[in-house]
Amino acid sequence: MIEDKPLTSRMRSDGRAVSLQEYVAAGGYQGLRAALQLSRHQVIEQVAHSNLKGRGGAGFPTAKKWGLIPTDLARQPRYFVVNADEMEPGTMKDRLLMEGDPHQLIEGMIIGSYAVYASVAYLFIRGEYRQSNEVMKQAIAEAYQAGYLGQKILGSDFGLDLHVHTSAGRYMCGEETATLNALEGKRAIPRFKPPHPPVVGVWGKPTAFNNVETICCVPHILREGAHYFRSLSRTEDGGTKIYGASGRVKTPGLWELPMGTSAREIIFEHAGGVPDGCRFRGCLPGGASTAFLLEDHLDAPMDFMSLQAHGSRLGTGTLVVLDDTVCPVGMMLSLEIFFARESCGWCTPCREGLPWIAAMLEALEKGQGRQEDLHILQEHCDLLLLGRTFCALAPGAVDPLRSALKYFHDDFRRHVINRRCPWS
């Protein structure tokens, strides 16, 4: 039988992490063995054929990113960094992958490092993920002992050191160049691009930078082939996806499903739909910084291209569902309080604009909003665009707001006209 859930099928129901022994028994580290038989270029080619795209939110083709790393070996060392800062509200998929099957991630990191000539790899884990930190550290120690890490891996000439960097909070630490600053022990503000990290990354060296879920896909591509990986998907983008649903659904959770599964299937079949007697109103398809989808949009495949037609994007693929029992303005307020607080403060439009947005939404919720506030909110959405702010945090903050002002316009207006929140 063809394994249709390669990322999660080994996970145990008792919650304990898959051990090295269990992982190897299920075919683990075969992808690494296969990779070491290939040239580094051939590994990248395989990943290119698999159509693997970044699961961290932006959907950038992984092989293309690795290919940007200079082949000129004069620039040493090179680094391979995996982003496990997962703090996007509504997102909990990387935690599952680390706590459930840590060796899958380690194997992916070794293969990735081999492909880009990296000799040192870091796993950047958010401080709140205590269990992920512990599980990963223990698994890494096991991998060293078994000869999957360190010098001359599996008898080859390739060696790799892998270390966990435990962070201490702040969403901004997940923005690629801010992560690199944090890793260097600097304040986690973003860096000017270009140069991009594949060329000038951590400590000025070429650096590959990927999300946890992205890298967990890699061993399966090497072991079973690019064709297998593409066949898992219902669309052009290869693989399965760890989708999730939380908020106003009956059975929130995470599910590994074919890439391109519809939001309708995720919400109504896997998450049990909205609670009885409630009506679905909308959802954020992939975490806090994605624009709302409405009922009419739910049949679109949840992949990197299709949601753009509806003004949204896949993001992290973990849905946040709103029904008619919660106020959409209140939900927006909760989102914008998060973004305002997590702004790193480096650039003015974001540092000043986001608290302003949050304050106006709070006034609306308290029944103190004015009609012109809605225009001012709209203005912020029109101005806080990529290119006008230093990083993608602020543009991500206004994406859901822009769609909320459009789709829930009447709800916003009722707050102004009735001078109170209709839900309070």
């Binding site: 703090m87 909990m92 401080g127 709140e128 909070g169 890793l183 022990g185 908020g247 569902v321 986001l354």
Partner: protein
């Protein structure tokens, strides 16, 4: 819910800095070692630093090592960390105040981090926050008079499928209800 975006990172405004005595500020960095950091903490910092090409990479880890023993990072310790890593006080402070899990003011014996992000909002965290505030008699950012609990808001804890959720010290708790909160608090002396 108060909108005070900046004040909830860490615990309110940072303690006022004391002026450094000239001699300490000027002394060469880690060759002289530090007066305050215990050998145990220094060993932890050194062990961690071996994994990086530059010692300063471990600054967050060093601050956490201090915090693990004192509960928070006071000015003296921060200065010692700065000296030990060869950095200035202000630079280390700019990093310490950036991280929400590094406390620059005293906290209670247990720190409650309640998730105030969207999935917890949608599943009613606000009622639980009210319950916590009433039960503890404190507002967000405050510590109970007996020094038992500090209550802080936190961004999404990655437990959204178990929302509403919170974290106390190093443990996470999901599927919260008022009754469950009472039971959990009871286990923290």
């Amino acid at each position: 819910m108060g909108v005070s975006p900046m004040s909830s990172t860490g615990v309110g405004p940072v303690a006022k800095k004391k002026k450094l005595p000239e001699t300490r500020a000027r002394r060469p960095c880690h060759e002289m070692g530090s007066i305050m950091l215990s050998d145990e903490v220094k060993k932890e910092i050194d062990a961690e630093a071996r994994h990086y090409p530059q010692r300063r990479a471990v600054v967050a880890e060093a601050l956490k090592a201090v915090q693990a023993r004192r509960g928070w990072v006071d000015d003296e310790s921060l200065r010692d960390v700065a000296d030990y890593l060869g950095l200035s006080f202000d630079e280390v402070d700019s990093i310490a105040t950036f991280y929400n899990l590094i406390f620059r003011q005293p906290v209670g014996r247990h720190v409650i981090l309640i998730c105030d992000s969207v999935s917890c909002y949608l599943t009613g965290y606000e009622k639980l926050l009210d319950h916590l505030k009433k039960k503890l008699g404190i507002a967000l950012g405050q510590t109970t008079a007996d020094g038992r609990f500090t209550l802080l808001p936190n961004a999404c804890l990655g437990l959204c499928e178990q929302a509403p959720a919170m974290m106390i010290d190093n443990e996470t708790y999901g599927h919260l209800t008022a009754a469950r909160i009472d039971e959990i608090l009871g286990k923290h002396e």
